[in-house]
């Protein structure tokens, strides 16, 4: 190993250093604002370094365990960007953390290091360690507000991520026993060389275990049970980050795993069935929710189902389109989800509740948050002119190309189903009668700027998606 290979993980190193400095600054000066500036500057520098790596040719580093290409850098940028916006906008919320404000910052950054490594990993050991690095800090911050709900959520999250890690590990071990290696390239080589008949059950078994392990992280049915509870109980900024960055990283890993094994046998129908069940369960679960965060939890499950449609396209003619669909959908979903969670957070400051009914007439008190929330929900339904529409259009277009017409039918009908509960929230926001005190506090400039920028991103990508689509295409073909 050459010391210069460290540059391929420079962003991760910078974020780690910044997180540690933020932690220390909290210990020695106790000023939250200092820690926040350190973290934001650190994230920004890491972002710049990641952009710098973008133009380098795709390489392997650290004995083939890290694959530095545009695919991984794209996810790095997505995760860093989300982290930046989450930290920037969470200023209002921070009071809930009491004395643990700086710890919140640094733990979130440690977790993001895992998320950034995951799309780059080229080895199951690295992948496993990254996943653990994601989960453990999150367990601590979910419990940080010390409310009953968050402690329960944290415990659930901890136990379930431990179980899912066990699943994943078991799958990895089976695959290792079969191929004698944990390296993606070697496994892929061996799998493509073997005939289908021999040892087929071991590979399918290990695939199911790995899918289960990653399925926990991204919230696929039947591994979704923790999602609504954790979303409801966890602090909003953390849940936002979890729902976007953790899901993106999880799907990045899922893409990589499928690229390994999709040639081995036809997974299309297995994935299609899981996709249909996941989106239907998510949407059906969301129909009757009154807690807005719980509703977004179920909606997150449904969206994981939609994204799986893209993965179901993998095993056919080409997998480039499927990957583009998945990544672009994740990208649009990230913006919409960030906007949705943060506008809910902003609205809930004046209502002191996450109950949907309590938002009645919010439009008259908090126009920016209400309009951004409306845009975000329209994007989550998948109606034009928002980015969510283009995401769904691309996804369904690719599935039609792969002749998965029935799967698309389920996907589209599920979008119709989802419009029930999203529109209900929108209607309540704009209701005439309101029970919010007129002098309720307004959200800060920082939060509003995050909201406005995400809202604009939803609209701009919805109206002129081509640059982003082309970017994603170059990412995938790298």
């Amino acid at each position: 190993m050459d010391i210069s290979e460290l540059k391929y993980i420079s962003s991760e190193l910078i974020v780690t250093v910044a997180a540690t400095l933020a932690l220390l600054s909290g210990v020695f000066s106790g000023k939250y604002i200092l820690a926040k500036i350190i973290s934001l500057v650190g994230i920004f520098i890491a972002f710049v370094f990641a952009i710098g790596l973008w133009f380098e040719p795709s390489t392997y580093a650290f004995y083939n365990t890290i694959n530095a290409n545009q695919f991984s850098i794209f996810f790095k940028l997505l995760i860093l960007g989300t982290l930046f916006l989450v930290i920037l906008g969470s200023y209002d919320y921070i009071e809930y953390f009491g004395k643990l404000k700086t710890e919140y910052l640094s733990l979130m950054m440690y977790s993001s290091v895992g998320m950034m490594l995951l799309p780059a990993c080229n080895d199951f050991i690295t992948a496993y360690i990254s996943l653990e690095l994601i989960s453990l800090p999150l367990v601590a911050i979910i419990a940080m507000t010390k409310e009953e709900f968050s402690i329960e959520a944290s415990l659930k999250f901890f136990i379930i991520s431990a179980v899912s890690s066990a699943f994943l590990l078991y799958g990895i071990v089976l695959l290792y026993g079969f191929s004698g290696s944990t390296n993606f390239d070697i496994i892929s080589h061996i799998l493509s060389g073997t005939s289908l008949q021999s040892n087929v059950s071991i590979v399918i078994f290990s695939f199911f275990f790995i899918l289960g392990g990653v399925g926990f992280k991204v919230g696929l049915v039947p591994f979704h049970m923790w999602v609504p509870d954790v979303y409801q109980g966890g602090p909003t900024p953390i849940v936002t980050f979890l729902s976007i960055a953790s899901k993106s990283a999880g799907f990045a890993l899922l893409i990589k795993i499928f690229l390994l094994i999709f040639e081995y046998t036809d997974w299309t129908y297995i994935i299609a069935v899981i996709a249909v069940i996941t989106m239907t369960v998510g949407n059906a679960g969301a129909l009757l929710q009154d807690n807005s965060k719980r509703l977004l939890g179920y909606s997150g499950i449904a969206h994981a189902g939609y994204i799986l449609i893209g993965i179901a396209c993998f095993s056919t003619v080409n997998n480039i389109d499927g990957q583009v669909a998945v990544i672009f959908y994740l990208f649009t979903y990230s913006f919409a989800n960030l906007a949705a969670f943060y506008s809910l957070m902003s609205l809930s400051q004046s209502t002191n509740s996450y109950s949907i009914q309590s938002y009645a007439g919010s439009f008259f008190h908090n126009k920016i948050s209400s309009i951004v929330l409306m845009l975000a929900l329209i994007s989550l339904i998948g109606l034009p002119p928002t980015s969510g529409f283009i995401g769904k259009l691309y996804l369904f277009n690719m599935a039609i190309k792969s002749e998965l017409i029935l799967l698309v039918l389920f996907g589209v009908l599920n979008s119709v189903l989802s419009s029930f509960y999203y529109l209900k929230v929108i209607r309540i926001l704009f209701q005439s009668n309101s029970n919010i005190a007129p002098n309720s506090s307004n959200s800060s400039v920082l939060l509003n700027s995050v909201l406005i920028s995400t809202g604009l991103a939803i609209l701009i990508i919805g109206i002129y998606p081509d640059p982003v689509l082309q970017l994603v295409e170059t990412v995938v073909s790298s």
């Binding site: 034009p384 119709v416 529109l423 998606p465 295409e473």
Partner: protein, 499 residues
């Protein structure tokens, strides 16, 4: 062709939404908002008339075409164009929006948002009629839902939230199928562009699944919007609970999007399937015609009654479309023109009816037929408008509704004789329920329980007069509109029928 700016249609589509963006800045000045809304809709009307005056009737094909690449990654273009089929519908849209905005001057609640959503709605409806790319068409089609959802659920009455949701879910359910249909078409034909699809033999073999299924996917979406039995049940609810201007737009132009879609996409692109499935179309048309007519007899709410009569009248559109099966080009084109004229006529007639019902409701605060008695003694002018609307609706000669119906029946008689015979009897029901309605509400005993109703404002009778004028002009001299339809329909029919 007189000189017209090349981006005319883009301006026509996006002027309202640009105007709506000004509203947040003047939101506390209600008079300014109203002025802005009426100026913009009126400018739209003038613009569309200008476009119409430079429209060449002798040149077949789309005119004022604008074409740009929009999302090349997905092969989506931004293409607009107008032909003889869409031109009258564009005029209808701009005319009815002037009327709708004008009668909305009496709205008192949340004025800024109200006019904001109406302007957004105008953009989306014009976009549907003018886009020549399936994806663009779909985008405008879906864009219309959000404004209409707000208009019904905020400014409506009764079970407004339920009705608004029902409207959206029905349309979304239909567009789910349309999305699949258009993706299959776009993928197999290699283009989403309607102008190119019209030239391709889509009907034959280039689709990966049988084109009949793709036809049906589109047809479901449009049949829900039209609406035809058995997908009609959202319409009475949405109509009844929408505010007056909302009903005018809903009946006047939104449901015409369904008819336009059937002719433009189902018939013109999938013409072979339109002939094969003609029996389905004529059956649905006849059934809707009779079912809608019969069910009106049970209604006690005037708005609901008119809503069911819309279901019945849209059946005539389907009947006209079914005449396309004929091998004789004249009959086929006659049926399609009749269907298109029926859409235009129904737009103005039902617009007038809903407008006058709105005026009655504003003054008496009831729409219950049993409580409206002797209207003619209390407000002769509103009664006059209402009676003209009802007479035109039942197909009295001299009004545009008659011309449309007679054209459709003449065309379809040679193709589906027995269906026509049954349908013509339904016209008796139509006359029956409308005359009975007039007898119960407008005439009848003067119960004399209050004095004269408040006088009509100019913003109330001017739009009504505009609609009356268009109904009578088309009734007396329908050729002006047939000539426009012919520009689009005759070349199409000649290319696909007989020969």
């Amino acid at each position: 062709m007189p000189k017209v700016i090349s981006t005319m249609l883009t301006i026509l589509i996006f002027l309202p939404i640009l105007g709506s963006l000004l509203i947040p800045f003047i939101r506390s000045y209600t008079q300014c908002i109203k002025a802005l809304a009426i100026i913009i809709t009126f400018a739209e009307l003038l613009l569309s008339i200008w476009i119409f005056s430079s429209f060449s009737l002798s040149t077949p094909g789309f005119q004022f075409v604008e074409k740009y690449d929009w999302v090349p990654t997905l092969g989506i273009t931004y293409q607009l164009g107008v032909d003889g089929l869409s031109m009258p519908l564009v005029l209808l849209t701009t005319l009815l929006f002037v009327c709708a905005v004008s009668i909305s001057f009496s709205v008192k609640d949340r004025i800024a948002e109200y006019f904001f959503w109406f302007l957004v709605l105008e953009t989306s409806v014009l976009g549907v009629f003018l886009s020549l790319d399936l994806v663009l068409f779909f985008i405008f089609w879906e864009l219309e839902l959000i404004p209409m959802y707000f208009i019904i659920s905020i400014w409506g009455s009764g079970r407004k939230e339920y009705s608004a949701m029902k409207f959206v879910i029905y349309t979304l359910f239909g567009s789910a199928f349309m999305l699949i249909g258009l993706l299959i078409t776009g993928f197999s034909a290699g283009t989403f562009n309607i102008e190119e699809l019209l030239k391709l033999p889509v009907s034959n073999s280039i689709l990966s699944i049988a084109p009949v299924y793709v036809f049906l996917l589109f047809f479901i979406a449009f049949a829900i919007k039209l609406p035809t039995w058995p997908f009609h049940s959202w319409l009475p609810d949405a109509h009844t609970d929408a505010p007056t201007a909302g009903s005018v737009i809903l009946a006047g132009v939104l449901i015409k999007m369904g008819g336009y879609g059937i002719i433009r996409i189902c018939v013109q692109i999938f013409h072979q399937e339109a002939k094969t499935l003609s029996l389905l179309i004529v059956f649905l048309g006849t059934f809707s015609l009779i079912y809608g007519a019969i069910i009106t007899f049970r209604q006690t709410d005037i708005k609901k009654l008119i809503a069911f009569s819309s279901v019945s009248h849209m059946g005539i559109v389907l009947l006209g479309i079914s005449a396309y099966k004929s091998d004789i080009p004249e009959i086929a084109s006659f049926g399609l023109q009749g269907a298109a004229l029926q859409m235009f006529a129904h737009g103005t007639i039902t617009g007038l009816l809903f407008l006058s019902i709105g005026l009655i409701y504003d003054r008496l605060h009831t729409r219950d037929i049993s409580k409206l008695n002797g209207l003619v003694y209390r407000s002769p002018i509103i009664s006059l408008f209402f009676v003209i609307g009802a007479m035109a609706s039942l197909g009295l000669p001299g009004f545009s509704g008659f011309v449309a119906e007679i054209t459709v029946f003449m065309a379809v008689f040679g193709v589906w004789t027995w269906f026509t015979v049954i349908s013509v009897f339904a016209i008796v029901f139509t006359a029956g329920y409308l005359l009975w309605l007039i007898q119960r509400t407008v005439f009848g005993d003067d119960l004399g329980y209050d004095k004269d109703l408040p006088k009509l404002h100019s913003y109330e009778y001017v739009p009504a007069l505009l609609l009356v004028a268009s109904i009578i002009i088309l009734g007396v001299y329908p050729n002006i509109i047939f000539e426009i339809f012919e520009q689009s329909i005759i070349p199409f029919v000649n290319n696909t029928t007989g020969v």
